[in-house]
């Protein structure tokens, strides 16, 4: 219920509560597989399915998204306890970025744009692949870049 971090994006928090960092990485692996299938088949419904999963991860947090639940039910019991916990806000923000990328792809696909499914699937696949293989959160990096784009006034004076 309490979800620290999402309401309070202005602060850098200490290492309070957190989630097992391997959960989002397993989720990113499943995401990558689904997006690879979307890319190879060009099937709009596969991409739409992943967009729904992104939406759930964005709304509920990665730990309660379908992949997060799969991790907790089937993977986590087989692993040793995590050495350190991770803030759930960054992977959740990355789910929102994934939702935007796949959502825009779906809109273009609905408008009949050629290869919209493939392009959106490829972009999101790069991010999911980097996350699962290298532990690099590409979506998370966008937060600061977007903040920087929003103009100099937004920063000072807070």
């Amino acid at each position: 219920m309490t979800d620290p971090g999402t309401k309070n994006p202005g602060t850098v928090r200490g290492s309070g509560g957190g989630i097992d960092p391997r959960g989002p990485r397993v989720g990113a692996g499943l995401t990558a597989v689904v997006l690879a299938i979307a890319l190879v088949t060009g099937n709009v419904w596969v991409l739409a399915g992943q967009a729904v999963i992104f939406a759930l991860g964005s709304l509920l947090g990665v730990q309660r998204s379908p992949y997060g639940l799969l991790f907790r039910r089937f993977v986590r019991p087989r692993l040793a306890p995590p050495s350190e916990l991770e803030d759930p806000a960054p992977p959740r923000f990355a789910q929102t970025v994934g939702l935007i990328v796949t959502g825009v792809g779906l809109i273009f696909a609905a408008a009949g744009v050629d290869a919209a499914v493939e392009v959106a699937a490829a972009l999101a696949l790069v991010a999911a692949f980097l996350n699962t293989v290298f532990g690099l959160c590409l979506g998370c990096e966008l937060y600061l870049l977007l903040a920087r784009l929003r103009g100099p006034r937004a920063a000072v004076g807070q």
Binding site: S15, D87, A94, E118, L136, Y143, P152, A155, Q158
Partner: protein
């Protein structure tokens, strides 16, 4: 009429092309990942760096050197870097660690060209930026970034 795979509803040629595209995308992602992993935690020498004062940081400078860590609310490895640097600063009275939310200090982020978090700047005793480190940092890398004596006055 080309043969169409009943499952994919695609011709074999088109299917092979798509698999080739998938392979290229994954190769690109892998090379990006390898480059970033290689750079992660490496202290790069900054030539002709900016000078930061205690007023810029809203925190006092370390007597010998200061780690200025730029973080953001959606940064997955900032917590680990914070633990490494506060741990190092605790063992050496000449070192200070200052953490700044780059999204709150966009003025500093622009001035110092901070594009990613975590980015750590290492300042000498005058506040001159001498090293720049991005990505996750191991305790060994953090220790190695601070020269033993060259900066002493």
């Amino acid at each position: 009429m080309p043969w169409r795979c009943p499952v994919l509803l695609l011709s074999v040629d088109s299917f092979l092309l798509r698999v080739a595209v998938l392979v290229v995308v994954l190769l690109l992602a892998t090379s990006v990942g390898l480059v970033l992993r290689r750079r992660a935690g490496r202290a790069r020498v900054v030539i002709d760096g900016d000078v930061l004062a205690a007023a810029d940081l809203a925190a006092p400078l370390g007597e010998r050197a200061t780690f200025v860590q730029f973080s953001s609310p959606t940064c997955s490895s900032c917590g680990a870097v914070r633990r490494v640097l506060t741990g190092l600063a605790a063992t050496d009275p000449g070192l200070a660690h200052v953490e700044i939310d780059a999204t709150e200090r966009l003025d500093l982020a622009r001035r110092l060209s901070i594009l990613r978090t975590p980015t750590v700047l290492l300042l000498d005793h005058r506040g001159l930026v001498v090293r720049r480190i991005s990505g996750p940092i191991t305790p060994e890398q953090a220790r190695a970034a601070v020269p033993e004596s060259t900066w002493s006055r």
